[in-house]
Subunit: 292 residues, 2 copies
Amino acid sequence: MKVLVTGSAGFIGTHVSRALLGDGFEVTGYDQKESSEPGIESIVGDFLDLEALTGAVEGHDVIVHIGAIGDVYLAATNPELAASVNVTGSTNIALAAEAAGARVVYASTWEVYGEPAYEPVDEKHPCEPDHPYNITKLAGERMLIAADRLRDVPVIALRLGTAYGLGMRPNSVFEIFIEKARKGEPITIQGDGSQGRQFTHARDIARAFVAAARSDVRGIALNVVSPEMISIKQLADIVTERFPTEVTYGQPRPGDVPPSYVSAARIEEKLGWKTEVSFEEGMAELLSADRG
Amino acid sequence: MKVLVTGSAGFIGTHVSRALLGDGFEVTGYDQKESSEPGIESIVGDFLDLEALTGAVEGHDVIVHIGAIGDVYLAATNPELAASVNVTGSTNIALAAEAAGARVVYASTWEVYGEPAYEPVDEKHPCEPDHPYNITKLAGERMLIAADRLRDVPVIALRLGTAYGLGMRPNSVFEIFIEKARKGEPITIQGDGSQGRQFTHARDIARAFVAAARSDVRGIALNVVSPEMISIKQLADIVTERFPTEVTYGQPRPGDVPPSYVSAARIEEKLGWKTEVSFEEGMAELLSADRG
């Protein structure tokens, strides 16, 4: 089976590409830069270029579509870019998949739900996103699910919890806390620190993509989240236990989504997926990593 | 007050421009072709060109954003175009409005709701669009409402009922029925004819845009629909009463949204708007029109 992975040079794309290779897929990376992962054939390209994308997808059985404006703050400052990449880009993926007869696995986000009307939030919960990031990610998801129905392109969407693990973006709260604490600089919690997230390890997320790529489940979205709800205060405590430093408190950041408890019951039922990496293990790995 | 109207050369744009002029606004049309309406200054331009759009909007107090891929069937065949025009285009409108300090009135659609969870459908009803047309119209609406909150651009979205009136697209069910019946050709109802729509006259819709442009209500969406639910069978009966011809039945068209009864109570409360043109009057006007 041949799979093309968009966003293959990024954090989640690297973990997913590695997991797909490990599971026996032939992996082509499609990104604006080459994948650093050994064993992957890299195509440097832009999925806003439908013709180039369609050519690249030819001969593949599956497209794993991870490429996106995935940085909430970039989406806020450049919403027109988020609209173009996340909505038009995902629509191009649907058209290229149709031409190649390929299946699509789409990286969506738990942030599509907005304020919880009930908890735990399952996939039937209404979606009321209110920020350029989650609005465009949901629209991209819906354009793909519509292509499943209208164009017979098999699509599965994975609504990912906040991912963490080795290779995260330097502006993630994990990287900021660890870098500052290692240097003995104070770390600042935005807000009161009580807001929680179901931080989900990138290797667990990668296993969900492999399961989705192997499955014939289609036309639906599935939550991919860890059951552990971790507050920013708990995260700061774990970091400062290893690298003691001062903790201060600042203003909440605009665009921060209020926490809600999200259920992963449906993906366990449909794909047999559940998390394997506990937050304690994931953090131990991050804190021990050689940072050069 | 100066208002810039996108999509000014189209069906709804023409009615809205005329009503704005009649209410004392200075009206600039911004479309890919010139407006035929006397008294309007036309700028031929593309709102996907953010720089040109920003220049055009300068000096205006209000943008009425009607321009879109508004044809459901075109959106189905060219979903990447619907994504680009309806989502990125509407995001560009938000950015140009921010630069000019202008207010935005956005033409959304009752079709954003999807299958009704309860009726009448009010503005708090969940939105579950499933077609490239309504998915992209909702995403455009949400990008604008997000700009209201994040960029302080005053935005009001009008979720329009299915519009009818003089100047409709030739592929509308109204124009198809009337043209065929006048020639004595059989007319074909797609489906069993029981599906209803709250057909809303373009002059009533135009009055809602004027009220929204004059108002300081912001950050919300309002339904703009006639209270009359008319089935396709009733429409065919009215047409064939005037121009007798045979009525046949065909397959439902893909992309046809199931009917749901939508409430206009909130816009009456917020803007004092309600319909003035009954379906009987609107149809009498359409059936009497000189068709060359």
